[in-house]
Symmetry: C2
Subunit: 342 residues, 2 copies
């Protein structure tokens, strides 16, 4: 069975059913999983991955051989596949469709021991350019409506290998959570003719108590209604709706700031597990008619990176209500992160 | 700082900021936390808890002394407090209010070694009656709009003590996730004059491949769009919107079925961490005007218990999109749970 997406009329959200082949019931205890065993992403083990889509390589080195700084490969165990039709079907009152899309891995470094905070200036810049350019390339497939770029650090944050890597998944639907945020931004813009996230930034820069770090063009802050302990968002201070629009110069400044924040989190919290996810704009050039409410996306949307440390375990309360409980006021979190000496 | 609830106009959801006093940054690594240390919930340690609200006790035993089968106490570290005004305020474009509500613990057994699947018939029946009666009592406070009853089993599922206990939290707002489901059920009813969840049950009982166990009055099944591996819902086969309406007889049948399902999950998956949460109807007798769309709650809503095994770790994908990835097709999960020999 290939991955499929399922929807029920009660929860009104898609779930991806992506069976892992050959898994036995006793294999489900992920807590026991070793993420530091054999490293298929290490330099020299290129034959363990699928063939590379892109790489930054030393002159003269060969595709799928050693001599690279970073590589992009299709995920061997994808939640989505490029092949196949969308094939939307009903099943009584339920709906399903094929898991059409793309699922790529950015292997960030040749060695598992070089984590993002340790990368040198050019390396981290190259990583940012790769993020942008892969999104640009994926959105050339006009079936794809949305792309999520995310990174899982540490087993408790869902990493299945400790080797530093980012995942990029592109899909044929816009997730409800994102659609709701797009709608909120649109409503705000309709009311006030201003971008909601620009307004949030203005307030953050004014109140200052949730700021972690500010640069010329970007800001890192702990959001007012943080879901997670030490949650930190990074956003452009200028209005920009789509990460694809980032210039090389802005990418450099943004990636340095990301490295700075991740270094602070690592130092302040003893290298905690975390996720980060880039929330950018949906594809404005899809096959399906563009929903009317997105016609002003360029004016009312604003991309952001969310860094989500995983210091507690989500429990029944969160899954029953959708409410999160956070035990660190974001003002305290920001103060602690600001105080880290780098 | 007491707990407060915060809302931002982008995510449009409330987050509970509930600082734990005296916590230091190094304390955040919950992974290292020992949930099997000193047991404040054990019989004989009653002075370690707040004063009991309710207990089932041997004749002649004293309140807050030994000799009980189960006890209900206010949570010592509550996300919500009964005291205080709602105190809704703005902060620029953000909103906040006090964490007014109630947060109780049902200590299910005198010993941490008697987990729910081992409870005898009368004990588990008493637990179910306690669930119902606490909800009835809490909803007498007309400030409270919603109640969530949940249980965290195992550290990875958010339990901070291994002693079996259930939590009941009552709050002054209906969580967005629940409000959206209520709306979905309402929309379905408007269209078809039938309860959405009754329709789902009809399809499940017809297709049979996701059924785990069926009794005269209740059904346990793995939902079509399960978010979690081996997710299982238990629902009344008859239409009932509010758990408070459960008769003693139905409680007995329901709790036996819950015990049966939890025993199957424990046996099939090597005692996995899990959450369960009861999704019942909001308070129909609150101080605030009842929203118009809930006027048909009694006709269009249907309560359920969701059991959510925690066999994988949620990662950046889930938090960035709200989509869940589930690696076990619910048909396979149900087959495996049905096959367990009790």
């Amino acid at each position: 069975m290939h991955a499929e997406m399922r929807h029920d009329p009660l929860q009104r959200r898609w779930v991806i059913i992506a069976p892992e082949r050959g898994i036995r019931p006793t294999d489900y205890r992920r807590a026991d999983e070793d993420i530091d065993g054999f490293d298929p992403f290490a330099e020299g083990n290129e034959s363990e991955t699928t063939s590379e889509i892109f790489a930054i390589r030393a002159p003269g080195s060969k595709k799928n051989g050693p001599g690279w700084q970073l590589r992009v490969v299709p995920n061997k165990f994808p939640a989505f596949r490029v092949e196949g039709d969308l094939d939307r079907r009903g099943n009584g009152i339920y709906d399903k469709m094929n898991g059409v899309g793309a699922h790529e891995l950015v292997i960030e470094t040749p060695s598992r021991y070089d984590d993002l905070p340790q990368l040198d200036d050019d390396h981290i810049y190259n990583l940012g350019v790769t993020y942008r350019d892969r999104i640009i390339d994926l959105f050339r497939d006009r079936r794809l409506k949305y792309v999520i770029l995310f990174r899982n650090h540490g087993k408790a944050a869902g990493a299945s290998l400790s080797h530093p890597h980012t995942q990029i998944a592109a899909m044929t639907v816009t997730p409800m959570q994102v659609a709701m945020e797009l709608q909120a931004a649109r409503d705000h813009y309709s009311d006030k003719n201003r971008c909601l996230l620009c307004d949030m930034l203005t307030q953050e820069l004014d109140q200052r108590d949730r700021l972690v770090q500010v640069t010329d063009r970007f800001v890192a802050f702990c959001p007012y209604a943080s879901r997670f302990n030490f949650e930190t968002w990074i956003m452009p201070r200028f209005h920009q709706h789509d990460f694809r629009r980032m210039t090389d110069k802005d990418i450099r400044e943004f990636m340095y700031l990301m490295r700075d924040v991740l270094t602070r989190i690592k130092a302040a919290l003893d290298d905690p597990p975390y996720n980060f996810t880039l929330v950018t704009a949906p594809n404005s050039d899809t096959i399906d008619p563009r929903p009317a409410q997105w016609s002003t996306l360029e004016l009312d949307w604003h991309w952001r990176l969310m860094i989500l440390p995983r210091l507690g375990n989500l429990a029944g309360f969160e899954f029953g209500t959708g409410f999160h409980i956070n035990s660190t006021p974001p003002e305290q979190a920001a103060e602690l992160l600001r105080a880290v000496e780098l």
